[in-house]
Amino acid sequence: MNTAGIAFSVLQGLAYVLLAPLLLGWVGKVKATLQNRRGAGVLQPARNVYKLLGKETRVAHTASPLFRITPYVVFVATLLAAAIVPLLATNLPSAAVADIIVVAGLLGLARFFLALAGMDVGTAFGGMGASREMMVSSFAEPALLMAVFTLAWSAHSTNLAGIIDHQLSDARLLPSMLFALASLVLVAVAETGRIPVDNPSTHLELTMIHEAMILEYSGRHLALLEWAAQIRLMLYGALIANIFFPWGIATRPSLLALAMGMAAIVGKLLILGAGLALSETVAAKMRFFKTPIFLSLAFLLALIGLLSHVILESGG
């Protein structure tokens, strides 16, 4: 059981690493179709990463060692965070070691290093991107934690597997869940750098956040950073899909249940990715100084979720 559990955990981590580029490719493909373009294939982000891994890595001569280790720190921290979020099965050892606050912390660590590396080389864009990223995250993280507290309060656990088990055993339509879902979706859009907060497909200097920080990277460093960003997108997708729509996830570590869980999560992520592409097609990127309004809406939604849990559900 235990060795099988560890094996399944490793398998789940591998699934994150391998499926993340495909998810981004799927989003891009749907977006292109919606905009009447043919678009690149679903495999394009994976091809990009593969190509970059084979290219020569150049580092600016003003760069400190921090600049070199950042891609590895970011990639490993993001992957660790992803391994904690249940993708295929709930009762895995990897989910038991840490809870969702650790996930937020690991993502924060990755962001911290990325912002330092952005400022490290000393170019104007890097510093600008870093300061913007810090501003967005300082608004997004309270909203994320507030939504998490709402979930944890009803599930009596901050452990993700515990929350999902609670959702599976006691599936009711509750106002707090609805508001937490809305808040988490807004936070996920901001944290993964999608429209309307950041535009992932442009190098237009005045609008970029994430691209501005990784502007000086090349070769395998760039590949790792892009791969980490893809994993982060998939992490938030899996978080939303499995917490709010947990049906189909494997609760027993058997191969059949795992295959079922795989099919379920692929279906859910396809739907979520199509929804993201649709919202990016109809919405325009907002002015950067409107971002606090967007994220304070997320915070307000999470807060109302928490209040409605206390007011409406606890006495019930």
Partner: protein
């Protein structure tokens, strides 16, 4: 639909009523705030209809229909026309302290929850938890009248207070007597019409939109205050 599903639906709708109040307070422009008010009226009407269905109170269906007609269609339409007539549709009135206002609003929600706790403990009605929400909607309407200086926005606050009162009556005691309810509904109607006429008259005279300027005589200049 089973009873439990309807119960959770009522709770969700009640939470959305509260959210509509927050939206009304924090929108800078008038038209989105009026739309939020219309949605709030529609939500209150649906909650009333659902309570009528679960409690088998046929009189409440009538109240639900009346609420929907008045507060989701007629009054928003009147206000809409007023705003367009006064050419305020593109006017924005930034809140002085947006974050502070929201924090204050949240504090009011918590306060009303704390206030209602003893009543909730003694009540047996399945919708008793909504009482705190309705009290919060009343207080948020009051807060809106305090923080907004736009006259039309103050009317919105007043009307949404009435929404809260109606929700409280429906959730705590299965609705008011029909006579009272009709009276209140027509009061609100008349108030809306009167506000409309009042604003139109004042609007002809010039600077109306800001209530803060109404407590000053025409003769005094800015420097004299």
């Amino acid at each position: 639909m089973s009873g439990e599903v309807i119960q959770s639906l009522i709770l969700i709708l009640a939470a959305l009523v509260l959210f509509a109040s927050f939206v009304q307070i924090s929108r800078e422009r008038l038209l989105p705030a009026i739309h939020a008010f219309a949605w709030q009226g529609a939500l209150v009407a649906v909650v009333t209809g659902l309570i009528a269905a679960t409690g088998h109170v046929p009189g409440l269906y009538f109240s639900a229909a009346l609420t929907f007609l008045l507060k989701a269609l007629l009054i928003p339409w009147l206000l809409h026309r007023l705003v367009r007539h006064l050419k305020l549709a593109r006017h924005r009135e930034p809140l002085g302290h947006p974050i502070l206002t929201v924090v204050l609003a949240v504090a009011l929600v918590i306060f009303s929850y704390w206030l209602v706790l003893p009543i909730v403990a003694h009540s047996l009605s399945s919708t008793r938890n909504i009482l705190a929400i309705s009290l919060a909607v009343v207080l948020l309407g009051l807060l809106m009248m305090v923080v907004r200086s736009q006259a039309v926005a103050q009317v919105l606050g007043f009307m949404s207070m009435e929404n809260g009162l109606f929700l409280a009556a429906v959730s705590a005691t299965q609705g008011m007597p029909l006579v009272v309810e009709l009276g209140v509904a027509f009061d609100v109607m008349v108030a809306a019409v009167l506000f409309g006429v009042f604003f139109l008259e004042l609007g002809e005279g010039g600077e109306l939109h800001n209530v803060d300027r109404l407590n000053r005589l025409d003769e005094t200049r800015d420097g004299d205050l």
